[in-house]
Amino acid sequence: MKKLKRLSIIALSILLMLSIGCRRVEQPETPEESREPEQTKGGPITFWTLSLSPTFDDYINGVIDDFEEKNPGAKVTWQDIPFDQAEQRTLAAASAGNLADVINLNTDFLKKLGALGALKNMDEAAADVKDQYFEGAWQAGTVNGTAYAIPWYLSNGVMLYNKELLEKAGIDKPPTTDKEAWDMSKTIYEKTGAYGQTISDIHLYLPANGIPIVSEDGKKAAFNTPDALEKIKFFKEKYDEGLIPDEILLGQANIPEWYAQEKLVWWQTGPQLFRQVKDLSPEVYEKSDAAPAILGSLGKSSMAVMNVAVSAKSKNPDTAVKFAKFITNSENQLNFCKIVAILPSTKEAAKDEFFTQGADSEDPAEKGKYYSAKQLENAIDFFVPVENISQINKTINEEFHKVLLENKDPQKALDDAEAKVNELLK
C-alpha cells in the first residue's frame, strides 16, 4: 500500500514536470517582436573575439576608437572569450537572443551557425568589398553556396625544423616533397629515434592531394577512390614501420612540446606558433630554422582562416556590417600582422613590402612569416563547405585510425566512411 502511494506520487510529479515542460519549450517558438526598421544611423554594437585579450588589447581598442571616431554615434563594446569555451558561450547567448552583433568565429563553427540561419549573408551585405579579399579566404566563410563571414586573419603552414637533428641523421636539407619527407623520416628514426613526417587526421591531407571529401554539389561523399585507398595503405605501412606514434596519430601529443623535447625533427604549422617552442625550450629554438611547407600533389598550401560574422538578429545591422568591414580592411589587418606573425586576408595588405622581408632572417618565426606570405597566393581553405563538417571529418578520421590501429581492411574502412558521410549529407 505504502509503495503504491509512493509510486503514485512519483508518477504525479513526473506528469507535473511534463506539463510545465511543454509550456516551457514553446518559449523559443514565440515569434520575435516585429522586426525593427533598418536603422541607418550608428548605434551600440557588441564585438566578440576569441582569446585575443590581453595580448592585443591596445590594438583592438585602437581599432575600435578609430571606428567610433569615423562613425559618430557608433559605440562598440568589446568582449574577449576564451577559445575553448567559445561554442558554449555563443550558443547560450544565442538561446536567449543575446548574441553579439559582430562575432569572431573559426571556420567550422561558422559553418554550423551559418547553415542554421544565425548569421548575415555577407555575399550581399559586404558585396562592395568582396573583391578586396583573397578568393580562397572568402570561400572559408561559405556554406551551401553562401558566404556568412568576412575573412579576417589567416595562417598558413610552414616548416620549423631542427638543424642539429637533421645533421645527426646525415641529411643536409629539409624535405620538399611528401615522398622525400617519408624517406628521410625512416633514416632519421633509425639514426636518432626522433620522428619526422607524421600524420594524425586525413581530412585535410586528402583534398590537398587531389581527393575531395564531398562532390561538387555537396550531396555525396567523393573520397572513396582507388587513389585514397592507395594513400591509406601507404600510411598503414609507415605506421607498421613505427614512423607514426599513436599519440600523434590520435592527436594526443602536444606537438610544440614534442618538438621542444627533440622528439620531432620538424613541425608544420603557422609561424605565429613558433613562439611556443621558444617559450618551452629556447635552446631547441636556437637550433631551428624555417622552410617552406611540404605541399600535397595538388600543389596548394592549406590555410586556416579566422572569420568575422554579423548576427542575423543584430539590432544595428548597418553599424555591425560596417565594423566587420572596418576591422578586416587592409590597413587594420596590416597593422595587426605587424604585431604577430599572421597573414592578412586582403590582397592589398598582402602586397605590402613588410611581407617580402625576412627571407634571410636568423629568427625562424620571421623567416617562416616570409615563406608563409609567399605561399599565400597559392593557398586555399580545404574545409568542406557543408554544415555537418565536423562530424564528416570525425567519421573519416575515425575510420582511418581504425585501419592503422585495429588493422581494419582499408577498403572496408573507406566503404563504411562513405556510407556514414552520405548519411550525414542527406
Binding site: R24, L116, D246
Partner: protein, 285 residues
C-alpha cells in the same frame, strides 16, 4: 514531536531556490528531450522519436558500456580506500593538518593542470613506463590504447577522489565517540575488529553518501575525457555525458542530447535506489 508546518517552514526558502534554479531547468531539459530544439531553428515536437533513435544508436550503447566500465572501476575504490585514509589521519598528532591538506591537493589543483600532468606521466616514454621498466615490464601505451584508456582515466579519478571523499569520512569519524574505541581496546579487540564493529556500522550514512555521490559523478564524468583523451582512441573513452556534450554543443542537437541525459538519469536513479536499499538504515528514515 515536530509538526508538519515546522517542516515546511524550514523547506520554504531553500525550496524556492531549488525549484527555480535546479528543478525548473531539469524539467526544461526533460521537455526539450521531446523536441528537436537546436537553438536557432524553429522547435518541433518529436514525441518519443529521440528516444527511439537513441536506442538504435550504436554510439549511445558504446558510451553506456564505457561509462559502466568506468563506474565499476572507480566507485568501489572510492567507497573503500578513503575510509582507510580517513582513519589514518583521524589522529591528533603534530602536523596532521598538513598531511590532510596534502592529501586534499589533487582536488584543489585545476583540471587543466591535472590533465597536463597526467598526460605527461602517461606518455609512452613517461614516468609510469619508466617505473614499470625498473621491474622489467614492457612499456604500455596508456591513453592511446583501446583497452587501457579507461583504466588509466580511472586511476586519475581515484587519485583525485581519495582526498575528496576522505574529507566526508573524516567528518563522519569525528562524530563517533572516542570512548567506544577505548572500550573495545580494553576488551582486547585489534585494529580490524574494532573498526569492523564500530567504525563501519556508524559510518553507514556517510558510506551511503559517498557511494551515491561517487556513482553520480562517475556517470556524469566527462571533463577528464575532454581534457585528456577527447573521447578517444576511436570512441573508447566517450562516456555518456561526453556524447551529450558532443551532441549538444558540437552538433547543436539539444533535444537529442537532452533525451540521452534523461535516459542516463533513469539509470542513475535506478542505481541510487538500489544503493539506498542496500546501505540506508531503514529505521532511521
Amino acid at each position: 514531536m515536530y509538526r508538519s508546518h515546522h517542516a515546511w517552514m524550514f523547506l520554504l526558502i531553500p525550496g524556492v531556490f531549488l525549484v527555480v534554479f535546479t528543478l525548473l531547468p531539469a524539467i526544461g531539459a526533460l521537455g526539450l528531450s521531446f523536441t528537436n530544439y537546436s537553438i536557432f531553428a524553429p522547435v518541433e515536437w518529436m514525441g518519443l522519436k529521440n528516444y527511439a533513435r537513441i536506442l538504435r544508436d550504436g554510439e549511445f550503447w558504446s558510451a553506456i558500456r564505457v561509462t559502466i566500465y568506468y563506474w565499476l572501476l572507480v566507485t568501489p575504490a572510492l567507497v573503500v580506500l578513503p575510509v582507510f585514509l580517513a582513519i589514518l589521519v583521524n589522529r591528533d598528532v603534530p602536523g596532521i593538518a598538513v598531511y590532510r591538506l596534502i592529501y586534499y591537493f589533487p582536488v584543489l589543483v585545476s583540471v587543466v593542470v591535472t590533465a597536463m600532468l597526467w598526460k605527461w606521466m602517461f606518455q609512452t616514454d613517461g614516468i609510469i613506463n619508466y617505473l614499470l621498466s625498473l621491474f622489467g615490464a614492457a612499456p604500455k601505451s596508456w591513453l592511446t590504447s583501446k583497452n587501457l584508456v579507461i583504466p588509466s582515466l580511472a586511476i586519475v579519478t581515484i587519485w583525485q577522489g581519495l582526498g575528496y571523499y576522505m574529507l566526508f569520512y573524516l567528518s563522519g569519524l569525528q562524530s563517533i565517540p572516542g570512548d567506544l574505541y577505548e572500550a573495545a581496546d580494553i576488551e582486547g579487540a585489534n585494529f580490524w575488529q574494532s573498526h569492523w564493529h564500530i567504525t563501519f556500522p556508524l559510518l553507514r550514512p556517510v558510506i551511503f553518501f559517498v557511494a551515491v555521490v561517487s556513482t553520480m559523478s562517475a556517470f556524469k564524468e566527462f571533463t577528464l575525457m575532454l581534457t585528456m583523451t577527447n573521447g578517444g582512441p576511436i570512441g573508447a573513452s566517450t562516456t555518456v555525458v561526453f556524447l551529450v556534450y558532443e551532441k549538444a554543443f558540437g552538433e547543436l542537437k539539444m533535444g537529442y542530447a537532452s533525451a540521452i541525459s534523461c535516459i542516463l538519469f533513469l539509470i542513475i536513479l535506478f542505481i541510487t535506489i538500489l544503493n539506498q536499499r542496500i546501505l540506508e538504515d531503514d529505521n532511521s528514515v
